[in-house]
């Protein structure tokens, strides 16, 4: 591990608590962009500068700068949205953004294509809807996700309460956000920071993004083992007695760099609700102090753990806490997908889970999904819940209201899921092109073309209703958590992917590379024979991933070795 601080660290230190030159950049009329360094700081405010990559080459020839626009990400703990908020978000999508709302794999909204001079009014409008975008991105605790499980009504309420509290208390305290976006009065001009400080983070925040997720077994819809800090709710006789603590999950990888790898979080103990907040703070504290600030490539908690050793980390944690964590309690995860259609909660309210392909709410032909949800928001009296599978739940519907809801759903083609193949219902794709600056291959835009081809294969072998987790990512960063897909495509270049197989159905086993850097034809050729065998040899209820290992088609992945260069 080198000791020279990365440029980003100097940047944060000099940013006057995330101000940098953002305000000046917004005011510069000569470009639709802001300063390079400021784009990095902007993330802490919940926005990414992007450009339409479909137009990049064309505009270069036209001597025009790239078609810069900004992506905005809301911070919605637990993915809960009120109908009133929904209507504002919807209007923003149509009037300021590219006409779509994007449900993310961390159960919040993104808007794409907001041009520079509309960024400020847009953020202000979100603020007025009693939501925020602060720390939706950046080296801080991100949007805290929690199980959308509507059935365990009471438990869900508590879990959601925790997600909200963690999200609120762990958010940065800088006034920069108010200053820049909400015309809040200036705490300081260009001079040194006045009475402003970040009790938890300090002036340089965390070495890297930090993600917290909370799951209520048997549902692992948040992929709790992909989180830096995973909380597994332990519900005994309907009461929440506490949480198993899992640390060091993460997906992101860099092609051809063995020192980067996906990692499942390690369960290190159990904490009571009273202890939870201290534990969270302490874990973040250790990562803040121990995380690699020289190489962002190795800055996530997962690498900190593998470098220092899990037990060393746990010891440090407990000494900071002043108490030892209890031993983990029993838990069992059944699956990490969503259940579609109506379900009744223990409290007698009804909940409707709708499938939103790639989480993209827009009006295209028959599918008038954006309008559909707007109409729902106008009449719905309960709330909406976004899921980490990019879907939406119309939650807390009284029995009497169901028909009216169903009518709107039908009218706008939102009931497609009824007739869909199981693989389609279990597919997740990241955004990728044209907005994502890191995309190497198509993902969201490729899914609609790929699915029919897979469906044809599956039907040919009577597997149409075999639930198989399919995950597409346009690059190895893994925003669709592809390393937990039973079948996953990870982008390498235009039309080329790594084909990965062998994860389980509940987010507890990583998959492995089956074919490297191949095109669609090769992918389908590779899958077809495997489907044949799965169709004939599977035991009942056996998942595709599990089967591949039992049948010996894949050998269990070697327990991950820690690359020498990462050991301190």
């Amino acid at each position: 591990m080198t000791t020279k601080l990365s440029h980003f660290e100097h940047l944060k230190a000099a940013s006057r608590f995330l101000r940098g030159g953002i305000a000046e950049g917004l005011a510069d009329p000569v470009t639709g962009a802001i300063g390079d360094d400021d784009t990095k700081l902007l993330k802490f405010h919940g926005s990414y500068q992007q450009d339409d990559r479909d137009l990049r080459e064309e505009r270069r020839k036209q001597k025009l700068e790239p078609a810069y626009a900004f992506m905005l990400r809301a911070r919605l703990p637990g993915g809960v949205v009120t109908p009133a908020q929904w209507l504002v978000f919807d209007r923003i999508a149509r009037e300021h953004a590219n006409g779509s709302l994007r449900i993310t794999t961390r159960q919040t909204f993104q808007w794409h294509g907001i041009i520079k001079r509309k960024l400020k009014p847009t953020i202000a409008a979100i603020h007025d809807a009693l939501a925020t975008t602060i720390a939706a991105c950046g080296d801080v605790v991100r949007n805290v996700v929690s199980t959308a499980n509507p059935v365990e009504s009471a438990a869900h309420a508590e879990a959601y309460a925790w997600a909200t509290r963690l999200s609120a208390e762990l958010a940065p305290k800088t006034r920069a956000y108010h200053e820049i976006w909400l015309d809040g009065e200036k705490l300081h001009g260009d001079a040194h920071p006045v009475e402003e400080h970040e009790p938890l983070y300090g002036a340089t925040y965390l070495p890297r993004k930090f993600k917290i997720g909370l799951a209520i077994p048997p549902l692992n819809d948040v992929d709790v083992f992909a989180q830096d800090l995973g909380l597994i709710a332990i519900v005994e006789q309907g009461v929440l007695s506490g949480f198993n603590i899992a640390v060091g999950g993460g997906m992101g990888v860099t092609h051809d760099d063995a020192s980067t790898y996906p990692r499942l979080a390690s369960v290190i103990g159990f904490a009571t609700p009273e202890q939870l907040f201290h534990v969270a703070e302490a874990v973040i504290g250790v990562q803040r102090d121990w995380g690699d600030r020289a190489e962002r490539q190795h800055a996530r908690l997962k690498y900190t753990l593998d470098r220092r050793g899990l037990d060393v980390f746990k010891a440090e944690l407990e000494s900071r806490l002043g108490f030892a964590l209890a031993t983990p309690r029993e838990y069992r995860f059944a699956h990490n997908g969503d259940r579609y259609g109506w379900v009744e909660g223990r409290d007698g309210n009804w909940h409707l889970t709708l499938h939103i392909e790639s989480g993209r709410l827009a009006d295209v032909g028959e599918r008038r999904w954006l309008s559909g949800l707007r109409e729902l928001a106008k009449v719905h009296t309960g709330d909406f819940r976004l899921t980490c599978n990019q879907n939406v739940i119309v939650a807390n519907v009284a029995t009497a209201e169901r028909e009216r809801i169903d009518a709107i759903v039908r009218e706008h083609g939102l009931d497609a899921y009824r007739k869909q193949s199981a693989i389609r219902r279990h597919a997740i794709a990241c955004v990728a092109l044209p907005t994502c600056g890191l995309a190497m291959a198509e993902s969201e835009r490729y899914l609609p073309a790929l699915l029919p081809k897979l469906e044809t294969l599956l039907e040919r072998h009577d597997l149409a209703d075999a639930p198989i987790l399919l995950r597409l990512s346009g690059c190895p960063n893994g925003c669709s958590r592809p390393y937990l897909g039973e079948i996953a495509l990870v982008g390498r270049g235009p039309g080329r992917y790594d084909l990965r197989l062998g994860a389980d159905f509940s987010g507890q086993r990583l998959n492995q590379v089956y074919r490297e850097n191949v095109d669609e034809a090769a992918i389908l050729d590779a899958l077809d024979p495997l489907f044949v065998r799965y169709a004939t040899e599977r035991t009942d209820g056996e998942g595709f991933g599990d089967f591949l290992l039992r049948a010996g088609i894949l050998v269990p992945p070697p327990s991950r070795r820690i690359p020498a260069e990462l050991v301190a």
């Binding site: 009329p29 000569v30 470009t31 639709g32 137009l55 990049r56 080459e57 064309e58 505009r59 270069r60 020839k61 036209q62 001597k63 025009l64 700068e65 078609a67 504002v88 209007r91 923003i92 009037e95 300021h96 041009i115 001079r117 509309k118 400020k120 009014p121 847009t122 202000a124 409008a125 007025d128 976006w181 909400l182 015309d183 051809d256 390498r492 270049g493 235009p494 039309g495 080329r496 490297e516 850097n517």
Partner: protein, 612 residues
């Protein structure tokens, strides 16, 4: 040379000259003599002309990289250090920061470049790649080079970009310092080996080199051009590029023509004359409406040509004039048309002249025409002028134009502008008949330390691109302030990236913008989410002039020169009015005092206009 008096030629220059000359053959020496004479004459006639910056290319080593994700950049950095260490001072540049015209003088070049996409260059090297593989790249007999390609052999197009450049440079006559290096994902090993070879070889050769050889130009430059308005030069089209976004309402083209070998020379401020051909689609419409046979030979003023050619190349068919209206009225016995020419109907006539092209009247007022009569009623086709958008100092023997394409619907049919449509359609192997139209009244201040203020909305910005290039190349110390306006920021910001670059490198000091059809959303209070719908007032350059009045006046007081170019119908008038207001307000003068002050500036040539 010794027995010649040498006017202020310092020893160093003289030494270099002698050294250069020694390496030339007798024939070459004679050519140089003739060429220098021509240069001298030029120099006397007007400003200094293009003398390519020789630099100290002879000993300099240039290292370029094209990199998407930073590998090539890293390797190039290491390479530069190795070179320094080996006592070879190197300049390290990202491909898109490299001034391409320097390639002709370049002696030693090391290139590190990756392959991206499906065998494409990295974004930062697309320009250089196109240049080197393109047809405008000079021969490079004096260049010594080596290319290291970065790639990933699991891609079908392994390292293809590096390989193509390596082959192309050799094809252009350059010599390899080392074989093409081909680095797979384990880059370092290959890179190190390649660097060692290239640098060692380079050291060897530098030991031996005597005076560097110069690439002799392909043909001599005649002392004065034989081309003129009457004998236009057929200029090869080098580029014809739309420079507004795909969704822009009006097409604007950046056209690059070659003047190589024409001997034509121009100054910033001059215009280029273009001899167009009428749109053939329009000519066919004429023949159809008139029910005339385009193939029939027609004699007019002693020349005999097929009618189609008369209409296509010899006559104005898009610009309406009174004479034609009169002839049409007579030919078809249309009294109301004839009446249109009476003094009392002048408003109606003006409207017709503004809104209609001849074809519209031919459709509206049927008549039977004798071909001869028709041709007699039409004016001969005249050339169109276009402000030159380049400085020869920057682009060498090229001339650049900025052309707004006239192409609109009226009376339910498509209408074209002859020359703009002709230029828009000119493809890259085509040629355009051109001549230089000097404009002595639109010149940069002879004193480079003077500030200049340039007001050029729309295509009016063209000559200012030339001005800024010229002032950059000639190292003028005065400040440059540009006012530009157009419809939309996103799509109609002509030469946006060039202005951004100019602001960075200090060749443009201020840029004020007015985009008339963007809502002024940012100015509206942040709580209003419906800003776009509500706000629809338009902003033009004259408003910016007023906003900047105080400083504008300061510049003028300080002796700044003032230039306005573009639309004459509204812009020039409104801008003039704004200037009067500014001077009156900030110089506290009465309006007519301000007027006469501007008048004086016009007299002194400090306020110049080029409007059309």
């Amino acid at each position: 040379m010794s027995n010649l008096a040498t006017p202020d030629l310092d020893a160093e220059k003289l030494a270099r000259l002698t050294r250069e000359l020694e390496s030339l053959t007798a024939a070459q020496l004679y050519w140089v003599a003739a060429w220098s004479a021509a240069q001298a004459e030029q120099a006397q006639r007007s400003s200094p002309v293009v003398v390519a910056p020789a630099g100290r290319a002879a000993e300099r080593l240039t290292i370029l990289y094209g990199s998407q994700t930073g590998n090539a950049k890293r390797i190039a950095g290491q390479l530069a250090n190795r070179a320094e260490a080996a006592g070879l001072p190197a300049r390290l540049l990202r491909a898109d920061a490299y001034p391409q015209r320097e390639l002709a003088q370049e002696r030693h070049l090391l290139l590190v470049i990756s392959t991206q996409g499906d065998g494409e260059p990295p974004d930062d090297a697309r320009g250089l790649f196109e240049f080197i593989t393109g047809k405008r790249v000079p021969k490079l007999p004096a260049l010594q080079f080596a290319v290291l390609g970065l790639g990933d052999s699991s891609y079908p197009q392994f390292c293809t970009i590096g390989r193509q450049l390596d082959a192309r440079l050799a094809e252009l006559g350059a010599t390899r310092l080392s074989a093409f290096g081909e680095a797979d994902v384990e880059i370092e090993a290959v890179a190190a080996l390649w660097a060692e070879q290239a640098l060692a070889e380079l050291r060897e050769r530098l030991k031996q080199v005597g005076p560097p050889v110069r690439a002799t130009p392909l043909h001599a430059v005649p002392s004065r051009s034989t081309y003129s308005r009457e004998q236009p030069f057929a200029a090869p089209v080098l580029a014809n590029q739309r420079i507004v976004a795909r969704d822009s309402a009006r097409d604007v083209r950046h056209v690059e023509l070659s003047l190589e070998g024409s001997g034509l020379h121009y100054q910033p401020g001059d215009a280029l004359g273009v001899w167009p051909r009428n749109p053939s689609a329009l000519v066919e419409q004429w023949l159809e409406v008139l029910r005339l046979d385009g193939a029939q030979e027609v004699t007019c003023q002693g020349r005999t040509l097929p009618l189609r050619q008369w209409l296509g190349c010899e006559r104005e068919v898009t610009r309406l004039h009174r004479g034609f209206i009169a002839a049409l009225a007579a030919a078809g016995g249309h009294d109301e048309l004839a009446r249109l020419l009476q003094p009392e109907q002048s408003p109606q006539l003006a409207a017709v002249l503004a809104d209609d092209q001849p074809i519209d009247l031919l459709r509206r007022y049927p008549a039977t025409w004798q071909p001869e009569a028709l041709l007699a009623a039409l004016r001969p086709l005249a050339p169109r002028l276009y402000s030159i958008a380049s400085s020869a100092k920057a682009v060498g023997e090229e001339v650049h134009l900025t052309v707004a394409v006239v192409d609109y619907q009226a009376h339910g049919s498509a209408h074209w502008g002859t020359a703009s449509a002709f230029l828009a359609a000119a493809d890259e192997d085509g040629k355009v008949p051109v001549f230089i139209e000097p404009n002595e009244r639109f010149r940069l201040p002879a004193d480079g330390s003077r500030d200049i203020i340039m007001i050029g909305p729309g295509t009016g910005v063209a000559p200012f691109r030339a001005f800024v290039q010229e002032r950059r190349e000639s190292g003028a110390t005065g400040r440059n302030w540009l006012f530009f306006g157009n419809r939309h920021f996103a799509g109609d910001f002509l030469y946006q990236v060039e202005w951004q670059q100019a602001l960075k490198d200090g060749s443009l000091h201020r840029l004020d913008l007015a985009f008339s059809r963007d809502s002024a959303f940012s100015e509206s209070p942040h709580r209003d989410v419906r800003g776009v719908a509500r706000d629809s007032h338009k902003v033009y350059v004259q408003q910016r002039l007023r906003e900047q009045g105080a400083e504008l006046y300061e510049w003028l007081k300080g002796g700044a020169h003032l230039y306005v170019c573009g639309d004459s119908k509204y812009m020039a008038r409104d801008v003039h009015a704004a200037l009067v207001d500014v001077i009156a307000a900030h110089g506290n003068q009465l309006p007519d005092e301000a007027q006469s002050w501007l008048g004086e500036l016009l007299q002194q040539g400090r306020y110049a206009r080029d409007v059309y």
